[in-house]
């Protein structure tokens, strides 16, 4: 719906609707008073500003889960590093996990600062062709907490999308927090004009994770974000001593592959649990560079190929259908 404000709930009837401000979905919305007064709300100019800013970005991908701790940030970081091995392509990560920003640490740039110029905020560069923006760069120290309600979070996400001067990019990867709330609704709404190529959904094999991930896929379908595919992370652990494989997070209900089938979305791969991945993330090092021949590195490479294929088959910005928000 074109007339849904960016701070509105997902079931907003639309500011031009006769029910504007009057239905139960309107409860608690900041626009309710204005809507029910009958005065039409102007469209949020940010959506068009963001569309203009992101015109030079060829592909925009969200990394979602619904469940926390499944490896969204770890996957985003490795996807970015994997894509950036092609030096002719420019890659960037936007970290919108405002309460728990992991990307700076995982990419080895904790403590770096961002700067503003006439053309906007400059992201932090890891390599010539790999840059990052995260609230982590704006915090004063490791104990500094972002204790914000939804509207303030939405405001910063809008700024990140509108004001970061990415330049020309082949891929913009958006790392998200778990859940289906303000951050996710805002990303979907603010990127309405610019378009989202697809979402990569990360899960671990156990049902307690799949419960949340199904909801995330439902969210994507609700707001019209194409699901590129499901990745099952922490999928099996091989004991370094006796080489026996065990399922630390048992796929009692069929794991990510079955869940993807049930939800009618593609399944694009499994990544085994390798303790060295966690260590690399903690120390900000690239797992690919350190342990390129491990089963996990090979799994990553195969999944990254699937993602490249999807993007090269995908339509351009202008042709991406409107997200249904």
């Amino acid at each position: 719906m074109a007339d849904v404000p960016t701070n509105a709930p997902i079931e907003c009837p639309g500011t031009q609707s006769q029910q504007a401000g009057k239905v139960s979905a309107c409860q608690g919305c900041a626009n309710q008073k204005l809507c029910s007064s009958g005065v039409p709300l102007p469209p949020d100019p940010a959506i068009e500003d963001i569309k203009k800013r992101l015109l030079p970005v060829k592909h925009k991908l969200l990394i979602l889960s619904g469940k926390g701790g499944v490896g969204k940030s770890s996957f985003t970081a490795h996807l970015a590093r994997g894509l950036a091995t092609n030096e002719d392509e420019d890659i960037a990560i936007l970290d919108v996990d405002l309460c728990g920003p992991s990307i700076p640490r995982i990419m080895g740039v904790e403590g770096h600062q961002v700067f503003q110029s006439m053309s906007g905020w400059s992201p932090v560069f890891i390599e010539d062709n790999l840059s990052i923006m995260s609230i982590g760069f704006l915090l004063s120290g490791p104990a500094d907490a972002v204790i914000w309600r939804g509207p303030k979070k939405n405001g910063l996400i809008k700024q990140f999308l509108r004001d970061v001067d990415w330049g020309e990019l082949d891929y913009l990867l958006v790392d998200t927090p778990p859940g289906t709330s303000d951050e996710h609704i805002s990303i979907a709404q603010y990127l309405k004009g610019a378009g989202i190529d697809g979402a990569i959904i990360i899960t671990t094999p156990q049902e307690v994770a799949l419960l949340d991930v199904r909801k995330e896929i439902s969210f994507c379908k609700k707001v019209g974000i194409p699901v590129l595919g499901v990745v099952e992370n922490m999928s099996g652990f091989v004991c370094p001593k006796c080489k026996t494989e065990s399922q630390i997070f048992p796929p009692t209900t069929g794991g990510g592959q079955q869940m993807a089938k049930d939800m009618d979305v593609p399944f694009i791969g499994r990544i085994p649990l390798d303790p060295r991945i966690g260590q690399c993330c903690d120390e900000g090092r690239s797992f690919f560079s350190e342990i390129p021949d491990s089963p996990a590195a090979k799994a990553y490479k195969s999944i990254i190929e699937e993602i490249r294929k999807f993007c090269s088959n995908n339509t351009t910005n202008d042709d991406v259908p409107d997200a249904n928000v």
Partner: protein, 264 residues
């Protein structure tokens, strides 16, 4: 207005929050184990799941098919046991299907949490365990504001050992200090995995980070919980781990975590 502690005929002696900041560290698992341990000891225990987007408590406690009902005084929580030692409330009970997503912005989540805190007919409870989502946002701020009139024992912080988790937990501790919630201590979960074949222990998510964080932030360290396949399967199957495996080292570690929460 903060929710009242006395709801109709009920009084809650102790409120314990289970927090992390980081997702996927085992908050819901630990919250459930604390609740089960206290209930098995004969206490009246309520479990309130305020993770509205990802409610895990119904599955973990084996209550997925249950509904909640309303009476004139409010919502009746789910009582899984005949003695009604355990009372559980979660948005999970209000969803028709497990595919249903709760896609709400902050204000609507806040309204639901306030309702959970003021309109559930808990009855008299010895303990109310509140399971939370990761982060330091609407849910956390709303809970903190609305439990001001309750007897708050404090927060149990759950972390996994690796640095990426500790960063978020440190921020959660800052949150607790800002809103005046005492930190009972830190639990280091998923701390080591013993191969079921050869018993070799691998520190899959590193080790010792939780204890170091406790030292750095000057809060008590409550103990390590290993990655125990029996605990993981109990969670998957919705069974009570401490009842089934009460002699195990993991069960002993859980009892150690619960000890500082016990009110006289």
């Amino acid at each position: 207005m903060a929710a009242e502690n006395e709801k109709a005929d009920g009084k809650i002696k102790s409120v314990v929050l289970v927090l992390s900041g980081k997702g996927g560290v085992g908050k819901s698992t630990v919250a459930a184990q604390i609740a089960l341990e206290l209930a098995n000891a004969g206490n009246k225990v309520g479990v309130l799941d305020v993770d509205l987007c990802g409610p895990s408590i119904p599955r973990i406690l084996g209550l997925e098919e249950k509904d909640v009902h309303q009476c004139s005084e409010g919502w009746i929580p789910v009582h899984p046991d005949k003695n009604e030692n355990l009372a559980v409330m979660s948005i999970g009970f209000l969803l028709k299907s497990n595919k249903d997503a709760v896609v709400w912005r902050g204000p609507k989540k806040n309204a639901m949490i306030k309702q959970f805190l003021s309109d559930v007919v808990w009855g008299n409870l010895d303990y109310l365990i509140i399971d939370t989502p990761p982060g330091t946002s609407d849910e956390h701020i709303t809970v903190a504001e609305n439990i001001k009139n309750f007897n708050v024992t404090g927060a149990v912080m759950v972390t996994t050992p690796q640095a990426v988790a500790l960063g978020d937990v440190r921020r959660e501790i800052t949150f607790c200090k800002k809103v005046g919630i005492p930190v009972v201590g830190i639990v280091e979960n998923m701390s080591g995995y013993a191969c079921p074949n050869c018993s070799e222990c691998t520190n899959i998510f590193s080790k010792g980070g939780g204890e170091s964080l406790a030292n750095v932030t000057n809060v008590p360290f409550l103990g390590y919980l290993p990655l125990d396949p029996k605990l993981t399967m109990s969670i998957e199957d919705g069974k009570s781990f401490t009842e089934l495996y009460s002699e195990s080292a993991t069960a002993s570690a859980i009892r150690h975590i619960v000890r500082p929460l016990i009110i006289s």
